[in-house]
Symmetry: C2
Subunit: 139 residues, 2 copies
């Protein structure tokens, strides 16, 4: 499948919006991401459902942050974009009753769950204001 770049793209957008502190239209954001405005609406819609951004129709409308950057973590954005596991272990379901398959899947699931915990912990302590600061510092 094509790689999922939504997390990186949405963080990029939110940090820009936080730094500019203004409204942006899907058209403007689309140019920022080199993509189609409809893709922007589709993805930003998920952030809206999680209360990270709001939108307004009509002239003068667009997207607006509902929180400041230090009130948004990478984990917030990630959760808004995906209901499923962050790291799918890629288990097999060829013979559900086979004890070897079961033990294999269990071992993989457990290993991925540990790694996911590390990733989630890091994401939860990484605020978008920290990324904004790093960008301004020119790292």
């Amino acid at each position: 499948m094509k790689q999922d770049g939504r997390l990186a793209r949405m963080i990029h957008v939110i940090v820009h919006m936080g730094l500019l502190d203004g409204r942006e239209t899907s058209e403007t954001i689309g140019r920022m991401l080199n993509t189609h405005p409809v893709v922007v609406r589709r993805t930003m819609g998920m952030l809206k459902a999680s209360g990270i951004v709001g939108s307004e129709s009509g002239r003068g409308g667009g997207w607006k942050l509902l929180r400041t950057l230090d009130q948004i973590t990478v984990l917030d954005v990630q959760r808004a974009l995906s209901e499923t596991s962050l790291l799918p272990p890629g288990i097999s379901g060829d013979h559900p009753a086979c004890p070897v398959e079961r033990a294999t899947n269990a071992a993989l699931i457990q290993a991925f769950a540990r790694a996911e915990e590390v990733l989630s912990d890091r994401f939860s302590e990484l605020s978008l204001s920290a990324i904004a600061a790093a960008a301004l510092a020119g790292e």
Copy 2:
């Protein structure tokens, strides 16, 4: 993209072969995994290139383990199947010069690298004999 189930499938196969300690044809393994023999050859070929299994053509041929289960780790199998990163961070490349995009990508890459380290460490200490033992214990 479609989910990659090769790691789980190959571990499944190797554990079975280690427990039976015999040769298996692609046909037999294909039935074990509910898949086509050509898919088996394709994937097992990667394990062969890494020296985990060997193969012989012709009548009476097939696939054979070149190491015992306690000499094969999940990491060995994973590395045999993929040259690329275990956990691709899904960065964006829309505006390579934008400092916000760069800071975002850097933060994600670092976070995923930490998680990958945890996963690799676990995989390196998880031998296929441990999975075999768990399967026999009926967990």
